[in-house]
């Protein structure tokens, strides 16, 4: 909304500097977003919130400015005179107007002008329009626009001679009807839309735009002037369905002053007659104008002061309300407040609270702190922090401590990007009804795509040679017949090598680096998960490991298939290791507090064991055998070396374990340790034909 200071001054006396007016308006909730000086005048640009359609006119701004400056507003005499009922009193209507959709159009006023001469409007007025961003058309249309900017009521003028029949209907459009609007576009109409129709066809999309066939032209002699109240919802629907918006629909869909409809018709008719040499023919045709029921809002002024936390007296409160045009009646403790007709946003006491604090000044309301211990969360026996929120913070910290960099990728992907990874990604992915562009057409159902795109981008920019990345985020998939499935997931990705540094051996960032991090994480989360080696369905990881928590699939871990890497424009080197787990499953797992275990009083005895076994024997099988044979004295068996190659016969591998023996409180004898150690060796020889090195 724009307004001119010179025009505003026709309504109220103002001596303040424009920037002071702007400051007051902004701090009163009418944000001034622009203030420019043009040729002795000042143009204000406002951001008017959708609840305040009454501010979409100079009259409205004038009322608001007066209230914010703490002054009563007096309706200007000169304007009042222009709105006086027409001379000669009521006359029989020369045109039949019927409201077939009384909900869509509550009130419709028409006035007929004859003998008009359509020409350019006077420069003083066209200039005003131009400054306010409205294109001058001709003296008739210009007046309808000026009047809208003056009092906020949108108006429309029809060329009466182009109308067929002597009846006007305000009704829903019929299927199959079309209308060419004044911008020359043909619109198919639907029964959702409200139209103005003559005896034969729609002549305007009500409240949105008029039709081309009945528009005012230089040849127009007789005019039907329309001033109406249309239902905001209906106009919004018409506007949305026809993809057509105007200054008029903008006001109607927010709500115009129902009481101002006839006055605006009369005001504009007089103005047009004045400028075009025509005369008003007959009286005001006013249909549906039943009195709207009076609104009374019960207000307890004492309560208002409490909820706002401000020491405002009752007489101050009353004055504020009256400055806004409200009438205040009722008892001393319970008021009945009748808001003015143009403030349809005032309906409940809380609406009045805002008006009171607005006029009092948000700034004058002293900041205080509420009592902190009111968190019900504690009263109800729940911890003050959602344990899962805390857990997620810990997971992030553990991963960061393990060298991982957190990333955040897009939740929306292009279907093409998703499909590049193969069928496991496209399966069950949810598409958007109304994507903004194809690049964001589908919801991610994996975190892999974002992670791979991050790798590709950083490789392209030569930002790094090693990747240690993680992301925690939601993924989505279809769950036919049920609500869309939303899962919290954790993705881990490593690739390449850390930057070389003197004195350190290069640390390859591969699958076992990643597995170590995952094992650390699961151990700290204290969930009993199982890892199963094998290929992962769909084959985007090869080889891969499946993780399970109980019977539920917890996630996957593996090398990303080079074909998938290639699909995301990542070279086969460095190889990329990836893991993704379902955090919702972990969230459900119960973790009791840690119980400390007594420290052993005697240090453990450590023995190393190096064996040669067939290279097909797995670490898991061998450790299982060692643990079984070593019980109960063996406390741990940790692999510290694995070797194939020179000095090891082909088909074999050398494995070295560090075995730790302990019996808790007592010192182990050499005999006990030797016996256990021998048992282990024997078991390995029997099961794996192991040879001691």
């Amino acid at each position: 909304m724009r307004f001119l200071l010179s025009w505003l001054k026709e309504f109220i006396e103002l001596s303040l500097h424009p920037s002071a007016i702007a400051e007051r308006l902004t701090m009163g909730g009418v944000e001034v977003t622009g203030l420019t000086q043009i040729e002795g005048d000042w143009l204000f640009e406002l951001e008017v919130t959708p609840n305040r359609p009454d501010l979409l006119s100079h009259l409205g701004i004038a009322r608001e400015t007066a209230a914010l400056l703490g002054r009563p507003f007096r309706f200007p005499r000169w304007l009042q005179r222009q709105m006086l009922p027409l001379e000669g009193g009521p006359q029989p209507p020369s045109l039949q107007i019927t409201l077939q959709d009384p909900e869509g159009c509550r009130r419709y006023c028409g006035l007929i002008l004859e003998g008009v001469t359509v020409k350019a409007g006077p420069p003083r007025l066209t200039e005003r329009l131009s400054r306010l961003g409205v294109r001058p058309i001709n003296n008739v249309v210009d007046v309808t626009n000026l009047c809208m900017l003056e009092v906020g009521q949108p108006l429309h003028a029809f060329d009466l001679d182009k109308l067929e029949g002597s009846a006007i209907q305000v009704r829903r459009a019929r299927p199959g009807e079309t209308l060419v609007t004044i911008d020359g576009v043909s619109h198919p109409l639907t029964p959702e839309m409200l139209v103005i129709a003559d005896g034969r066809r729609p002549i305007a999309l009500a409240g949105v735009m008029g039709g081309r066939e009945t528009e005012i032209t230089p040849a127009t002699r007789r005019i039907l002037l329309e001033s109406a109240w249309f239902d905001p919802i209906r106009i919004r629907r018409s506007s949305r369905l026809s993809r057509l918006g105007s200054e008029s629909s903008y006001r109607f869909e927010r709500g115009v002053d129902p009481a101002g409809v006839p006055a605006a018709a009369i005001r504009s008719a007089r103005w047009i007659a004045d400028l075009s040499g025509g005369n008003i023919s007959g009286g005001l045709i006013d249909v549906g104008g039943s009195e709207t029921p009076k609104v009374r809002i019960p207000l307890r002024p004492q309560r208002a002061a409490e909820v706002l936390g401000m020491p405002v007296t009752l007489s101050q409160q009353r004055r504020f309300l009256e400055q806004l045009g409200c009438r205040v009646a009722g008892t001393a403790t319970l008021w009945q407040v009748e808001p003015p007709s143009w403030r349809e946003d005032l309906r409940i006491p809380e609406d009045l609270y805002e008006e009171l604090v607005r006029l009092w000044g948000y700034e004058r309301c002293a900041p205080t702190l509420p009592p902190v211990a009111r968190t019900a969360v504690v009263l109800e026996g729940r911890p003050p922090e959602d344990p899962w929120m805390k857990r997620q913070r810990q997971i992030r910290q553990w991963l960061v401590a393990a060298g991982m960099q957190e990333i955040m990728t897009h939740s929306l992907l292009s279907p093409e990007d998703l499909a590049r990874g193969g069928s496991p990604f496209t399966k069950g992915a949810i598409s958007l009804e109304n994507p903004l562009s194809v690049d964001q057409g589908v919801l991610r159902n994996t975190l892999l795509v974002g992670a791979l795109q991050t790798v590709a981008r950083n490789l392209n920019r030569k930002a790094t040679e090693g990747f240690e990345l993680f992301e925690m985020g939601r993924i989505f998939s279809e769950d036919p017949g049920r609500r869309p499935k939303e899962t919290s997931a954790l993705a881990l990705l490593v690739a390449g090598e850390r930057a070389p540094a003197w004195g350190l051996r290069p640390a390859p960032l591969g699958l076992f680096h990643l597995k170590g991090i995952l094992e650390m994480l699961l151990q700290r989360l204290r969930v009993e998960s199982v890892m199963e080696a094998g290929s992962v369905s769909g084959g985007f990881l090869d080889p891969g490991i499946r993780l399970k928590l109980g019977k539920e699939p917890l996630g996957v871990l593996g090398w990303v298939d080079p074909k998938v890497l290639a699909a995301y424009e990542i070279p086969p080197e460095p190889a990329v290791a990836y893991a993704q787990i379902d955090l919702d499953l972990i969230r459900q797992a119960v973790t009791p507090p840690v119980r400390m275990q007594a420290l052993p009083k005697v240090p453990p005895v450590v023995r190393d064991l190096a064996i040669l076994v067939h290279e097909a024997a797995t670490h898991r099988e061998i450790v299982q055998a060692i643990e079984e044979a070593g019980a109960p004295l063996l406390k741990s068996a940790a692999l510290f070396d694995l070797y194939k190659g020179k000095q090891v016969p082909s088909g074999k591998k050398s494995m070295a374990f560090r075995l730790s023996y302990s019996a808790g409180d007592r010192t182990l004898t050499e005999e006990e340790i030797s016996a256990t150690h021998q048992r282990i060796v024997g078991a390995l020889q029997a099961a794996f034909q192991a040879v001691l090195r």
Partner: protein, 351 residues
């Protein structure tokens, strides 16, 4: 017959001297190592003496003395060997422990949190100290929770300003599925399941149908706050937010509150932070205004309480802020796209 203790002493002294002299002449690490093995190795000279400790007929005090001598021999020789080695190293290129101390330390492999996570954590921790507890809600929502229950009826003009992404899935009884356009739906979920008083925070990702440019992205993050309880008033809302702003931007931070409109609060306000770059004088960042729009807030609208079945007269306040905007202001980041591009050179700038 046991060897007299005095002659053993002499013998050890001689041996040590002999070893020290040989050591002094050693020119190579290998020579030193050979010497170490000869004297101190498992089958070395010194180990031959230890059995003497247990020899019959030697008085206890002599055994102790011999033990001390043997240990002293060992320590002394080890020390000599260490020094000789250091000396050799020194000749080769410096004194013992005389590495180049200007060499860089070995890099420590610790990762980093995303700046958005860090900013959310910082916001939450300040509000936590003010008695607020964080909770989380879903990113996929229904129209009821995103709009209707928050007093944004269909066809309401304010619904226009939330241009949403709708999901291609069958609607639920609570309306069509969409990606939440704000974190406020969690207000409804939480109130449906809890009774006041409480003070909660909802951090999370939200979505708007905005074209991507330097200051817009179709996804961003918000932190929402909701306090419901007896006798809360507008001054409490201001106090909590002022306290937060000082925690977030320093004790000098100033907020101003302007009336605004949100369907789910009444009265509503927008809070501006006195520009942290020009201290309110007006600069490029604040568009010469001196103030930065930073959050929206207000007293919860009675229609919202009605939607969750709270009794009339319930009072509370709510606020919501954009995390990216705060992070951008705080760190001087000029392009929102950087947050989701994950260029490691960007991410690694944050501790």
């Amino acid at each position: 017959m046991t060897q007299p203790i005095d002659s053993l002493d002499e013998e050890l002294k001689r041996l040590l001297q002999e070893a020290t002299e040989t050591l002094a002449g050693a020119k190579e690490a290998a020579e030193i190592e050979a010497l170490r093995v000869r004297y101190l190795g498992r089958k070395g000279i010194l180990n031959r003496y230890f059995p003497l400790l247990g020899a019959e007929g030697r008085p206890a005090e002599e055994r102790v003395r011999l033990g001390q001598r043997l240990n002293a021999f060992k320590q002394k020789l080890e020390q000599e060997i260490f020094e000789r080695r250091q000396a050799l190293k020194g000749q080769a290129g410096g004194a013992p422990h005389s590495e180049d101390l200007t060499l860089p330390g070995h890099p420590t492999a610790v990762g980093r949190l995303h700046p958005i996570t860090r900013t959310i954590d910082e916001i939450l921790s300040i509000f936590r100290s003010l008695g607020f507890s964080p909770v989380e809600g879903p990113e996929g929502e229904t129209e009821y929770y995103n709009f209707d229950a928050l007093n944004i009826p269909p066809e309401h003009p304010s619904r226009q300003s939330f241009d949403n992404f709708y999901l291609k899935v069958p609607p639920s009884e609570k309306g069509r599925w969409l990606l939440r356009s704000h974190t406020s739906p969690m207000q409804i979920h939480f109130m449906e399941a809890n009774t006041p008083p409480f003070q909660i925070l909802v951090p999370g990702r939200v979505f708007r149908r905005d074209a991507v440019d330097a200051s817009h992205c179709f996804q961003f993050h918000q932190v929402e706050g909701l306090a419901v309880g007896l006798n809360l008033h507008f001054g409490d809302l201001k106090g909590v937010l002022v306290a937060w702003a000082r925690g977030m931007f320093g004790p000098e931070a100033r907020l101003r509150f302007r009336p605004h409109y949100f369907p789910f609060t009444e009265p509503s306000a927008e809070a501006d932070l006195a520009c942290i770059f020009c201290r309110g004088k007006g600069c490029r960042v604040c568009g010469q205004k001196g103030w930065l729009e930073i959050l929206g807030c207000g007293m919860v609208h009675p229609a919202v309480f009605k939607a969750v079945g709270y009794p009339p007269g319930t009072v509370g306040f709510a606020f919501g802020m954009g995390v990216e905007r705060i992070a951008m202001l705080k760190h001087g980041i000029e392009d929102i796209r950087l947050f989701f591009e994950n260029d490691l050179r960007f991410l690694q700038q944050f501790p």
